[in-house]
Point group: C2
Chain length 189, copies 2
Amino acid sequence: MNQLIFNIEKTFKPSEEELDALKGIMIESYLDRNEFFLKAGNVCDTLAFITNGSMRLFYDSPDKEVCNDFFFENSLVGSIASFMSNMPSIINIVAIEKCCLLTLQKNDVIELIQYHDTFKKMASIIIQEQLIRSEKREAALLRNSPEERFKNLMEEHPKLFKRIPLHYVASYLGITPETLSRYRTKFLL
Amino acid sequence: MNQLIFNIEKTFKPSEEELDALKGIMIESYLDRNEFFLKAGNVCDTLAFITNGSMRLFYDSPDKEVCNDFFFENSLVGSIASFMSNMPSIINIVAIEKCCLLTLQKNDVIELIQYHDTFKKMASIIIQEQLIRSEKREAALLRNSPEERFKNLMEEHPKLFKRIPLHYVASYLGITPETLSRYRTKFLL
DNA sequence: CTATAAAATTGATTTAAATCAAGAAAGTAT
DNA sequence: ATACTTTCTTGATTTAAATCAATTTTATAG
């Protein structure tokens, strides 16, 4: 919790009172390995900060799952799209490792945002980041080859390969586990 | 203009007064073929409804351009991400055909949203749609093969092939123009 | 600690799409 | 209408990644 609060304080400079309001609505919660945080088809009415552990975001597909993202400590998880729109989520979020979470219920979040400008701003920035991330991801999938995507990921998040089962990483890159394995030996890791 | 206003009225049910406020800030504007509406690197401070014509959204890439989306009559164009965050846009938007636009300046939009709940809601929905669209697009790029993406696009937007130069469509699908051409003959169009 | 399951690697083969190259068709401007 | 450019198509070849198949390594539960 401390690290998270520290980050929020540093970035958004909430007042003492605002910080208490935030702390007041956060509920500690836990997930086992492979336990779902959000299932496609359900409306996302909870967001969570991960204080410990990792999760993956994936899409259902007739044959295979497709892994689209990973989350670690200090990141916020949930489908912003579903949370905002009350539409059923098309994404799944599931724990890869055991997770400690600080969850936020929708009603509380709405109230928090309504009464505190700092959190209104924070919400807006989270949405912006999501939009920018999507733009970049889309571009990367279109303009980079699988091998380039692999190399970029190795540069930007080498730790990911230590912590995440590689077939999820392969799926994230849009390749088969075999191909990922071959890239790894090719680029001597 | 009429069609656009009709759509907004139907969907968001603004009051007479709100509708006037919206009309009051819309400025008619035109773009020639290949003229930029938004250049990567610039901050997006203008949004626009297309009343006539078509545009494409693309990313710069060292070698090639990568086309990521198309816009036609009655859609809103601009980089929501850049517009919200004031960060330089990473996307370009350029006219494919000559365009008639109704543009909205950032200051006016902010004011409009500030004073009118209907437009606050409208903004929120536009953002949601953007987020949902991104999720779907990302999933499609990862889980569908190029050929499947082609077939889906043929089903969902057959008119696109009539109106948009095919090399842009190819780029949107993440394939070469040659491959698109072969798909077309293969699936007898 | 062992048994079992899940994940990762390695090799051989197939397949889909890219690339290279040329020509045809369509669009635009003079 | 003619020339010129851009776009589209078609064919031959290459290439990257998928698939198929088997094995090794690693993780997990009893």
